[in-house]
Assembly symmetry: C2
Homo-oligomer: 199 residues x 2
């Protein structure tokens, strides 16, 4: 049994990850609105407080992050920066602080998406952010070999099709429970520097 923190545990994907892992792992469920482990990962002190409260971990999963969606021709640098500050820097911040709270051989698993490889209308910011996260995974796995780092890149979740289907014409959705299996591969497997695509 490992002690695994899931940040974004209340979200569609996070709930499925918790469901998948809790059969045989101790799960620390963290999210913005959680009463026990509240966290705003865009805030340095909030992330530090979370890890100090949770104690040593064997794994950290981040299934959270927002970016800007809107037409490229009207986009401003300020809007583009939203995704940099939230989803990108937030997930990286969890790595930078969380690396010091992991047991040897522990893992960190970030969340990107099919949009890295398949740009969608109005989503240039998301493609840039997710590409940066996948680059960070490659670099961090190479430089710090004491812990593992991977990313899970799901396609559209069937549970979210109401919101995203208009952006994803002809995309086959996957249920969040199937995407959750890739997080188990990352947590219980031996690989590092991987992007697990669930497409």
């Amino acid at each position: 049994m490992k002690k695994i923190m899931v940040i974004g545990a209340s979200g569609t994907l996070g709930q499925a990850v918790v469901q998948e892992l809790r059969a045989d792992h101790e799960i620390v469920e963290a999210s913005r609105g959680d009463h026990r482990f509240p966290v705003d990962f865009s805030n340095e002190e909030s992330v530090r407080a979370l890890f100090n409260k949770a104690g040593q971990l064997d794994g950290i999963i981040v299934a959270a992050g927002e970016a800007h969606i809107g037409p490229l021709k009207e986009m401003t640098a300020e809007q583009f920066n939203k995704g940099l500050q939230n989803k990108l820097l937030g997930q990286v911040r969890v790595y930078l602080i969380g690396q010091h709270h992991l047991s040897a051989g522990g893992s960190i698993t970030l969340t990107t998406g099919i949009i890295t490889d398949e740009p969608l209308r109005d989503c240039a910011n998301v493609t840039a952010v997710d590409s940066a996260l996948e680059g960070f995974v490659r670099a961090a796995a190479t430089e710090n070999r004491e812990i593992r780092i991977n990313a899970v890149s799901p396609t559209m979740l069937t549970e979210s099709a109401d919101i995203y289907a208009a952006y994803c014409p002809g995309f086959e959705g996957v249920p969040a429970s199937r995407a959750a299996l890739a997080f188990r591969r990352s947590v219980d497997g031996i690989q590092t520097g991987r992007v697990y695509r669930v497409w």
Copy 2:
């Protein structure tokens, strides 16, 4: 003859790009210290002023940008954000504002590096930033087909080996003049969404 703006024209790469293109194009040389076209691309007003002064362009090249270099285990989110605000958001800002100052079919060419694919010691921030830029190129080329966008990814420049060789063991450098040819491919060719690797 096209009218091409080169941002970062005073740098090692920028000088070579100007040298390559000025035989048959009109070049607007912009850089932080330029007396005629000064620009700080981390500043919104500075970029707006530059484009307003330069008038309509047929091509924009950005050969500039700084990111954080330092050990991953000691890195802070604030340090990581330096590369996001400078090289990443700076180059994207040039696209977002510059797209409105380009003639139809004009091109924007960004600069990344081999580090996207080959992580180097202490350079996780640079890999993330350059990966984001390459993702942005994929997305922008897909969404806005009225202009072209590409990136040039050089390996270590032989002119910069004094500074970077310690980070790049066994890397074959290329002269800046050879990397400059890839900018000509982008400016005078017909492709879009490409990353021209000069390795």
